[in-house]
Symmetry: C2
Subunit: 339 residues, 2 copies
């Protein structure tokens, strides 16, 4: 019995010492695990030490708060639904007055967005705290002027009290503090998966088929863009080689240099439809379309299926979210406005 | 020390034996506590023994499931938000294509709706399992034909599996089973408060001011309609004595006999604006308006304020809701339809 334990222990050790060459290869290609160690993770997700339990709890309330929208019925969670992979499952985001995004842009996931180098499809926002203010103001999303958001929140004494608890009694509950608090909550939306266990040395965390898929993913060149912790999140030219099949839907052309944000592949099975204009529902078709537009090659059905098998293993464990009880409006709270 | 304990014990005993006359009065007037004993509670909330953990968990997912709507972005929780007192905080419900309820009806709370004698403002539905199918189909709400709801749910294998776990492997996942499962979840949305502790004999559960408010509430005749566990939930004529101040907004006149569902007063501070057409934001004004329309009397400012003090004590503890992770669509899932 004792000997068995020793053998078992040495097997575990050897799997770390003589790592699966695929793990080494993946790391060489820039793939990175979500750190298991919480302090290591926080160094990445919270480099400026903004996260505290009070701010995260308050940020969660604000994330689910429909009164941040002009109408009072649209919250961050409406389009970035934490029960639907952090997105909305529709091609084009629809917001205030049932108006679709004028550029036909698809809502990207908020899960693991903390690992992105920048936010929005054109990468125009440097971090989550800044990003959160965008959709709140955008006419076809939440349509709220900042002054309205500030007035609504400040009209609710429980919110003001919570801001004081989170930032000290002299806090100014302004638009920047409100959006920043939402960003702080979003920093906690990280979803570790079996893939991370694999990269961290647990060889059997991925099945043979999934490992084969990862190998094909690397061999085909997918890691050129889909790398880092998020397997995405940086800006790349799009399309790079051949035109995108659905380029005619919407007028989005990326930033001023034609660069488009690379989508994260984590939880990708939960965030269809794909691409900036949400025109492709099949993950296999999306893989093959990427082969065409970005790599200039036809990825075979067999290889695309293998890649999809790997991508499925990127589905991570979501943080448990207790649905927040929102404080009551007062008579001085600005009323809902549906126009 | 020992003597002190005996005295303390006898004081506790006496508070039960010689109950506060206000407790007796309240009960005589038809007010009832939410039973503390879980078996007693279940006799009321689940007389037919439909509740099981699997059905409640599945019902919760369906309650938060936007794909039950034609567009894919409106769920039960959109208008009956469990973080906002089970309602939406806007005068008139707005749904599919941003269309407001044609009768200007306000979304009633789902919390404690299990205690209502019937559902909807005109009481046309006998129970929650039946009610759940209404808004799902209504054009200005979720706008889903039953066939679409059934096709969407059946296209998602995880849902079908969960229905089998909840009802047995031969279950037919039809519209009635889907809406019924949502109703079963809603049966658990019960919010006990300090008021219930008071009715159950804990005299100091309500402050003196709240007890005084309850006394005025009874003396003014409010319990004529606001009685039972829900302090509401039955059908009564409206208006009974004088016209309602905002009768001109919308065309709702109650059922064929002019009867309107009495709103529950539990969590009433969370469910403004008030009345079937959501035209009054101030709880005090609502109390006084009820005095006029239903009791034919002017309730003084002082008395209305006392009643409001009591009503605030009806804010109950909400069940903890862990936000559900919804299963993924498949390629055969009918697509979102925004038209």
């Amino acid at each position: 019995m004792k000997m068995n334990k020793i053998i078992a222990a040495s097997l575990v050790a050897s799997s770390v010492l003589f790592a699966n060459p695929l793990i080494e290869k993946a790391k060489t290609m820039g793939l990175q695990a979500i750190p298991q160690n919480q302090n290591e993770l926080l160094k990445i997700t919270d480099p400026n030490g903004m996260i505290t339990p009070e701010r995260v709890e308050l940020g969660k309330k604000l994330y689910f708060e429909p009164r941040l929208s002009k109408s009072g019925i649209i919250s961050c969670n409406t389009c970035h639904n934490l029960g639907q992979g952090g997105a909305d499952g529709v091609p084009t985001a629809v917001g205030h007055m049932w108006v679709a995004n004028p550029h036909h842009l698809n809502s990207p996931t908020v899960y693991n967005a903390v690992f992105f180098k920048s936010q929005f499809w054109d990468g125009r926002s440097p971090h989550l705290e800044d990003q959160a203010g965008g959709p709140m103001q955008a006419a076809p999303e939440m349509a709220s002027p900042p002054a309205l958001v500030v007035e609504r929140v400040n009209s609710i004494p429980e919110y003001v009290e919570e801001f004081k608890k989170a930032y000290g009694k002299d806090v100014k509950v302004d638009f920047a503090t409100i959006t920043s608090t939402i960003g702080i909550f979003e920093r906690t939306l990280v979803t570790p998966s079996r893939y991370d266990d694999f990269l961290n040395g647990k060889e059997d965390a991925l099945t043979k088929e999934e490992q084969e898929g990862l190998q094909v993913f690397i061999d085909q060149g997918c890691t050129t863009c889909h790398n880092g912790i998020a397997l995405g999140g940086s800006m790349m030219p799009f399309p790079m080689v051949k035109p995108y099949k659905f380029a005619n839907v919407g007028d989005f052309k990326g930033d001023q240099n034609g660069m488009v944000k690379v989508s994260t592949l984590r939880n990708i099975t939960e965030t269809a439809p794909y691409f900036h204009n949400g025109q492709i529902w099949s993950l296999k078709e999306a893989v093959q379309e990427m082969g065409t537009t970005q790599l200039g090659k036809d990825i075979s059905d067999a290889d695309a299926e293998k890649i999809v098998t790997f991508l499925k293993a990127l589905k991570g464990e979501k943080p448990e979210i207790v649905y927040p009880q929102l404080p009551e409006s007062t008579l001085s709270t600005p009323k809902p406005d549906f126009n």
